[in-house]
């Protein structure tokens, strides 16, 4: 699948981000190739979500460089809509969806199709939602007029991931996608990631605390420690021991 290999789809070089006195990201660097799953691991507060938000466009980095397909993203361009246009989508930790809205609305969040400039094109939204759910092999979501808060956690996460892949994006960032799910639902989400990668050649940035999951899915693993992307492992050179050591001690 990932034959082209050579040139990375995304490179992040030495990005930093502070919030007031807190240096959430001190030195973040990694790259991502087409069809690759790169995991980012690290303790609580290590800066993983901050790094995800920088790449998604939600945070503008204080310094550093981001290149997509060889083109640098300038500071002035750095925004969610620009990153979306470059093919980057994200499923945020805890706040990926609007609970009181329907599945179609959430799938189209931020890009609601309009009729005559003002009105919601509900038909189009429902049709596309059915297509996406079918594509993901999600059969449990039937009633599209219910608020998603009435669905199970796994169903909600499927919609969130569906939202990220529905628009033909090249890179999907998943920030702790299974942290709130049970074992069956976790397996479902993992299957989804592999399917999408195999079928569409989509690249994933997977942030996770679940080291077994990371070893199942990721081609490479980046360890963040106190805001620094300190180590990188290939899939076959990882043992749990080394990973845990790297996460806790940063070495």
């Amino acid at each position: 699948m990932n034959g082209s290999g050579a040139e990375p789809l995304l490179t992040v070089e030495h990005v930093t981000k502070s919030f007031g006195g807190v240096q959430a990201m001190r030195d973040g660097s990694f790259d991502l190739k087409r069809g690759e799953v790169v995991a980012i691991v690290g303790g609580n507060g290590a800066g993983k979500s901050t790094l995800a938000k920088i790449v998604s466009g939600a945070h503008v980095p204080d310094s550093g460089r981001i290149c997509i397909k060889g083109v640098e993203v300038s500071r002035a361009d750095h925004s969610v809509s620009h990153m979306q246009a470059c093919g980057i989508e994200v499923v945020y930790q805890d706040l990926a969806l609007v609970p009181n809205m329907t599945a179609p609305y959430n799938l189209f969040l931020g890009r609601i199709p309009r009729k005559w400039g003002l009105f919601v094109d509900e038909k189009k939204m429902r049709k596309k939602t059915r297509e996406v759910l079918e594509q993901l092999n999600v059969t449990t979501v039937q009633d599209l007029s219910q608020p998603i808060s009435s669905m199970s956690g796994g169903q909600q996460q499927s919609i969130a991931i569906g939202r990220a892949i529905a628009w033909g994006s090249d890179i999907v960032i998943l920030d702790e996608p299974t942290a709130a799910l049970g074992p069956n639902e976790t397996a479902e989400v993992e299957r989804l990631v592999e399917d999408v990668r195999d079928q569409h050649g989509t690249s994933f940035i997977l942030i996770s605390h679940n080291l077994d999951q990371v070893r199942r899915l990721a081609d490479r693993i980046i360890v963040t420690h106190h805001g620094v992307t300190s180590r990188e492992f290939k899939r076959d050179e990882i043992t749990s021991d080394r990973l845990v050591k790297a996460i806790t001690l940063g070495e």
């Binding site: 939600a58 925004s79 809509s81 979306q84 706040l95 969806l97 009181n100 969040l109 609601i112 919601v120």
Partner: protein
């Protein structure tokens, strides 16, 4: 455990949940039946229903304004003052520019709403505090501007003569009477339904009330959206002020006092949670009607006004206690 299938209670949790949706409709039916039983034809007469149809529109439009804001999770308690301000500017507009000047009244409401929205969104001051301050400030402005006197709308052009505080506009007065005022309310209600249920803007009201942070993360500018919401609600208040000007035949400094509370009550009686994210135009219409009917019915039944206010307050608490699923509520603030 074994024979639960045979002993199904009538009110299963799902049915109770469905039933909650109908509380506003059941409430209004009960209220009508009750007053019919108490007062008979004095309540159930064409004359009285014509009166109710004239009495509801101003409250209804204010409730629509409040519905937009409440759906986003904010509240606006300045709309009573804004109504007086808008009616005053509408009347002044007619003095200055003739009939078209009435538009100034609608714009004035939109302006007050926009100021509210800017303070809330840009200075990040909670809507309750902001609009409380505006309730006080705008009312004071009206009193300063009017010098405590009213501007009257008159039917007869001869009378206005040199008197600066009256405008001859018989057409406006006829707008404030039965079929016209009812037709205006019906048209606005239909427009509001389309706007609230079918437009992208209307859906976004609910989404902001549901989870504002998510919208910000997907790149929606919630700050300017909220300013637009308060401005749109303000325009609706301005429209209500013009209808009130037609109905009352005067712009008075005291107009609209306490109406902000009626508007909130109508929205709540319509089953809309004041915490945002949900709402219904149809049920808000029912809520506004219920409020008007209860007040009217109690008056006809000879209940003194103060006691009828007590009854209204109790009704409000009862309606919300029944229509909210309280087992799901974890925190009450």
């Amino acid at each position: 455990m074994s024979d639960t299938a045979t002993a199904q209670p009538f009110l299963t949790p799902e049915r109770v949940e469905k039933l909650r949706d109908y509380v506003p409709f059941i409430a209004i039916a009960l209220v009508i039946l009750m007053f019919w039983a108490i007062s008979g034809d004095r309540f159930m007469s064409v004359r009285n229903w014509t009166f109710i149809a004239q009495q509801t529109p101003v409250l209804l439009l204010l409730a629509f304004a409040q519905l937009m804001i409440v759906t986003t999770g904010s509240i606006d308690i300045s709309i009573g003052s804004s109504l007086a301000f808008s009616a005053f500017l509408g009347a002044l507009g007619m003095l200055w520019f003739g009939d078209v000047g009435l538009i100034l009244g609608i714009l004035a409401g939109g302006f007050v709403g926009m100021v509210n929205g800017c303070i809330i969104s840009l200075l990040k001051i909670p809507s309750f505090v902001t609009t409380l301050a505006m309730l006080i400030i705008v009312r004071a402005l009206v009193i300063i501007m009017s010098d405590g006197t009213s501007i009257y709308i008159t039917a007869d052009s001869g009378a206005s003569g040199g008197n600066i505080s009256s405008v001859a506009a018989p057409w406006l007065l006829s707008m404030g009477k039965f079929p016209a005022i009812f037709i205006i309310a019906a048209i606005v209600a239909f427009g509001m339904w389309v706007f609230y249920e079918k437009t992208v803007f209307g859906q976004q009201l609910r989404a902001v009330g549901g989870n504002e942070k998510v919208l910000r993360l997907v790149g929606i500018n919630v700050t300017t959206f909220k300013i637009k919401v308060f401005a749109a609600a303000g325009l609706m208040v301005g429209l209500a002020a013009c209808v009130n000007l037609a109905r009352a035949g005067a712009a008075t400094p005291q107009a609209g006092m306490m109406m902000e509370l009626d508007a909130i009550a109508a929205v709540a009686l319509g089953g809309t949670p004041l915490t945002g994210g949900y709402g219904s135009v149809v049920k808000t219409i029912i809520g506004a009607l219920t409020l008007t009917i209860v007040r009217n019915g109690l008056t006809i039944a000879g209940v003194p006004p103060s006691w009828s206010q007590v009854a209204l307050g109790l009704l409000l608490i009862a309606a919300i206690a029944i229509s909210l699923n309280r087992s799901k509520i974890e925190v009450v603030k």
